[in-house]
């Protein structure tokens, strides 16, 4: 609420706001960052951390509840599934799938989308028009439907899920980065560089790219949850990672048949997904407020 002329009058409530926000950052970037770091570490160190073979179990030990339950045992801290496989070990190996999905769905697609967006925005013209038409078209096919078409044709596998993610996810980056490049193309410092005889590649690399990094980081963080849920959904439907490989979506799917008796099979991997996605979104929101307020209405979708 601005009191239009009063600089002082404005500054004072703003300070109030800043004070109020001050206690949150302690929790906000740190807890989500810690959770994301743990997920990455667990994914890398999975073979060292997992107490059991995630793919094999003994049927004698099937459907054991978590350790804190009276019937549980410390040997299987989070219980076992119908095949007697250790839920904790499967959960640990499942982080690898999510990590791979993020590497492909966020980092690789981010690189592709950024390159396309920068070139299209900077050069404009026919290629820009064609590329943007393509972007609009891909954006107009809901990703789940495209996944059905592609996986229906090629079969269910992690590779095909990654293929679908790459095909659908680069366009979001391309669109946002193109808009930025278009805006920056006529910025003073870029015009100056061009007058100074700078080549296009150098202009893009030195004068435009650094100015879109914030946008890129914010958008990338906000899409983590989207791609992770996307993979989990497809694996849940049986269209992604195939058993016996452990993915969180697949684990939930397998646990579904035992929901009446073994709630932990459904609940635990879901909580892992929820924690990862909420952390990523919290971090993304925080980054956006810090780095790029213009992206305010971009959520994972």
């Amino acid at each position: 609420m601005a009191v239009t002329t009063g600089e002082r009058e404005q500054v004072v409530p703003a300070e109030l706001g800043r004070k109020k926000r001050r206690f949150r950052p302690r929790l906000i970037p740190h807890v989500p960052i810690a959770i994301l770091v743990i997920v990455v570490a667990v994914a890398i160190l999975a073979p060292l951390l997992a107490p059991h073979d995630p793919a094999r179990g003994t049927l004698v030990d099937s459907l054991l509840p978590p350790a804190w339950d009276a019937d549980g045992t410390i040997e299987y801290p989070l219980g076992t599934d119908a095949n007697g496989r250790d839920v904790l070990s499967r959960l640990i190996y499942g982080t690898r799938i999510s990590a791979i999905v993020v590497v492909f769905g966020v980092i690789l697609t981010g690189l592709i989308g950024t390159a396309v967006g920068l070139l299209a925005g900077y050069f404009g013209g026919v290629w820009d028009a064609i590329l943007m038409r393509l972007v609009d078209t891909i954006l107009s096919i809901p990703p789940v439907l495209l996944a059905l078409a592609i996986i229906g044709a090629l079969g269910a596998s992690l590779q095909n899920v990654l293929l679908v993610i790459v095909i659908t996810a680069w366009v979001g980056y391309a669109r946002i980065i193109r808009a930025e490049a278009l805006r920056l193309r006529n910025a003073d410092h870029v015009l100056l560089a061009r007058v100074g005889g700078c080549g296009w590649f150098r202009i893009l690399r030195v004068h435009i790219f650094p100015n879109v990094v914030n946008t890129l980081v914010v958008y990338a963080t906000l899409t983590i949850a989207t791609v992770v849920i996307y993979e989990a959904s497809l694996s849940f439907l049986g269209l992604g990672v195939r058993p016996p490989d452990a993915s969180w979506g697949g684990m939930i799917s397998e646990g579904r048949g035992h929901m009446n008796t073994a709630w932990w099979l459904t609940v635990i991997p879901g909580i892992a997904l929820l924690l990862l996605c909420v952390s990523a979104n919290l971090l993304g929101d925080w980054l956006r407020d810090r780095l790029d307020p213009r992206l305010r209405n971009v959520g994972g979708s």
Partner: protein, 304 residues
Amino acid sequence: MGQFLIVRAAQSVVTILLVTVIIFAVTRISGDPAELLIPGEVPTERLDEYRAQWGLDDPIVVQYFRFLGNAATGDLGESFRFDQPVSELLLNRLPATLKLAAAAMAITIVVAIPLGVVAAIYRGTPIDTIAQTLALVGQGVPAFWLGLILVLIFSVNLGWFPAAGDSGLTSLILPAISLSAFAVAVVTRLTRSSMLDVLDSEYIKLARAKGLSEAAVIFKHALRNASIPIITVLGLQLGLLLSGSVVVETIFNWPGIGRLAVDAIFAADYTVVQGVVLFGAIAFVLINLGVDLLYAVLDPRIRY
């Protein structure tokens, strides 16, 4: 306005054409479309016969235009599993999907908009914190897992609602909630931020200075202005609800087109998959077209 309508409609037609190209291309990436379209172990003669029948030995461009021509006249091919035209299957299953999407949309509108408005008006209070937390969880929770948890609590343990199937209103509630969670989250956040922007504007101060009641300020002026971005996002979410129903219908054994498509994949009934995807994509494009037109009606500043 008339010109805007024509340009925008023409754009949508181009997009739909490109969508058909992509979907057509997908049937070719697996190699031999005959093998994809006739599932199972079939004698070579049967495949040859099929190729001849459907002109799969014609040049690819000819094939595409045949595909397009058929699709335009509502002919999406035959389902091998059901021995029925795909278009007929779609029409049979569509009402269930629409019912689910409409229920989810209704929940979104009824929950998210008031929640966002209240959060904006009482910014920084516990109500705002609750709304923001709810939105955060809604955006991070996978719909299929939420559906299962709801079943675990309300069907398995409490026995309030049926766990699956389409048997009247009670069976609609859990799937509609699962399907709407994400949209509720997105729309709540957007409503809150749009309302905050608007409430901070000069015209709201002036409306108060005119002596309008707080209700008139909020509903007549603030919400009306904030509704422009909200309606855009609602439209987008409607499209996503339709595709999100693929997952939710599977969990709740809901007899809609999403479940039809997933079942078809496992039955290797690819013509059905293709039909659902084509239908869904076209519906999505048309919804977005509708949203743009609505936008132009709502915002007097937009006159193309």
